[in-house]
Symmetry: C2
Subunit: 307 residues, 2 copies
């Protein structure tokens, strides 16, 4: 039990914030966790589940006396929250966030914060297809990366303390600048999600293949697309609205590449397909070696007798 902050305020009480609350309690990382969510039902759930010790009807009340304030609302709502809490922050407090886009959050939040408050933007690369205060669990961040994007001229001690906080919850922590974060995430997360949403939408529109058949036979590959296409719609809308340039860049590359493979199919060029599929298989092996997935047959979903 290592206390890192005396008082932590969670603004927004969804999947990430509730998981933070559970992890803080389990590791004893804070003396008190205060929470705020817009709806009363969510606030009451947070108290009842126990990942907050106090809940507050406004963000301004929740951040009072907090040493660490975590903005865990959709990216599009960050600016308004920052404006609301700015005058209520404790001098010397650290403000961080968990948004999936970083430059837009910096642009929206930084102008509001008073001098003497440390702003260290962050993004835990962890999540499930579920959202809301009931969806959190203490191990969500274990063995996952959290990226911090500290700003030029910021206080290194505040960044280091926040880093220790994430590491105490089992996360690996990296630092990079906000634009680089947004490009890396456009490749590894944002564009894959848009593509998955699109494929699921195509299946939804097809009238010759009934919805029931698509669902019945989803284990053949489609299932993995629906999983990542089931995340919170508000969060993802905001991601695409705020990381537009990087996503459009990667989407353009994706479309070019898809047309090359489409042409190979149309022309019957099997060798080109075979070579392509052999290359992509190697990337998969890299991910397993990096410990970011399991190689168990069927990914641990079914009982395995031989391996």
């Amino acid at each position: 039990m290592t206390r890192i902050y005396d008082r932590v305020a969670l603004i927004g009480l969804g999947l990430i914030a509730s998981s933070l609350g559970h992890a803080i309690r389990r590791q004893g990382l804070a003396g008190h966790v205060a929470g705020h969510a817009k709806t009363e039902a969510t606030r009451e759930a947070a108290l009842q589940i126990g990942f907050c010790q106090s809940v507050h009807a406004t963000a301004a009340e929740a951040v009072r006396d907090a040493d660490l304030v975590v903005l865990a609302v959709p990216v599009g709502a960050m600016g308004a929250v920052a404006a609301e809490i700015a005058q209520h922050l404790k001098p010397g407090a650290t403000v961080t966030d968990v948004g999936s886009v970083k430059q837009a959050v910096v642009d929206a939040v930084a102008p509001h914060l008073p001098a003497g408050v440390h702003f260290v933007p962050g993004h835990p690369l962890a999540g499930t297809e579920h959202s809301g205060p009931h969806s959190g669990f203490a191990t969500l961040f274990e063995n996952r990366w959290t990226i911090l994007t500290p700003l030029p001229g910021g206080d290194p001690a505040a960044t280091q303390r926040l880093k220790s906080f994430w590491e105490a919850m089992g996360a690996h922590v990296d630092e990079m600048d906000p634009p680089h974060h947004d490009l890396v995430l456009a490749v590894t997360s944002h564009t894959p999600h848009l593509i998955a949403y699109t494929m699921v939408g195509v299946a939804d529109h097809l009238r010759r293949v009934t919805e029931s058949e698509v669902i019945k036979y989803s284990a053949a590959g489609f299932r993995d697309f629906t999983r990542i296409a089931a995340s919170d719609p508000t969060m993802w809308r905001d991601v695409f609205m705020t990381n537009r340039d990087a996503v459009l860049d990667i989407l353009g590359r994706f479309t070019e590449e898809l047309f090359v493979l489409q042409r190979a199919i149309r022309m019957g060029d099997g060798q080109q397909l075979f070579d392509y599929f052999t290359r992509t298989r190697a990337i998969r092996r890299g991910i397993i070696e990096a410990g970011q997935d399991t190689s168990a047959p069927d990914f641990g979903r079914t009982k395995v007798e031989e391996s």
Copy 2:
């Protein structure tokens, strides 16, 4: 222990055939399992692992006296195998296959088979990212669909017996005609795989985002693409070569739809994105209700304390 066939011959000894061998042995579904693979090392592995009781240097030898012959080679190799075994099949035997495309297999195999042999094409919708004789396990088909595409004028009793065989291994069995199978699979499997291969290829080509970063941060969504882009390159080459029309049809629809979303991002139309993402989320719920995936946070990959 219900014996359904006296002697089963597995032609090709990869993931599907080895899983069949394990499941047959566990359930006592055959008196003897004979196997053939082109390479001696694979044949010896099958004997040593024990999912075949005998192995044979040629497919012609392996099918001798078999009541059920399972063609478990890539779709592009089915015709040559059928030609080789045709004159060695036992009268009254059933020949089936496990290919991911059905009309092309019917076209390649049926002309070779003699009268008195029952051809019942099939496709188990089950697999992992692994291939080869060491990758099989007895529960691979449990709670998964196997689609049979019996031909007009075929023997209903032979189809019924094959259906019982799959059901004894825990599979659900459906019947449909080959072109409908190929369209359904183009939506639920073939096009998603091509898209996943493409996205992994795009990441591979990006020079501004190093491969190491793509791999490190893959848990943010990209990981799920690499998983389905890691399947056997030969198998997938043959799928796209032989189900070309249906895949090109679905790819065309996918591209149209992607352009609509891309335009919404470019124009800043958040409402359109939000509505789209809300619809696709409903499909995901259908899959979980149909028992084709787990809704556990992080899909059972990490230990969960709260749910």
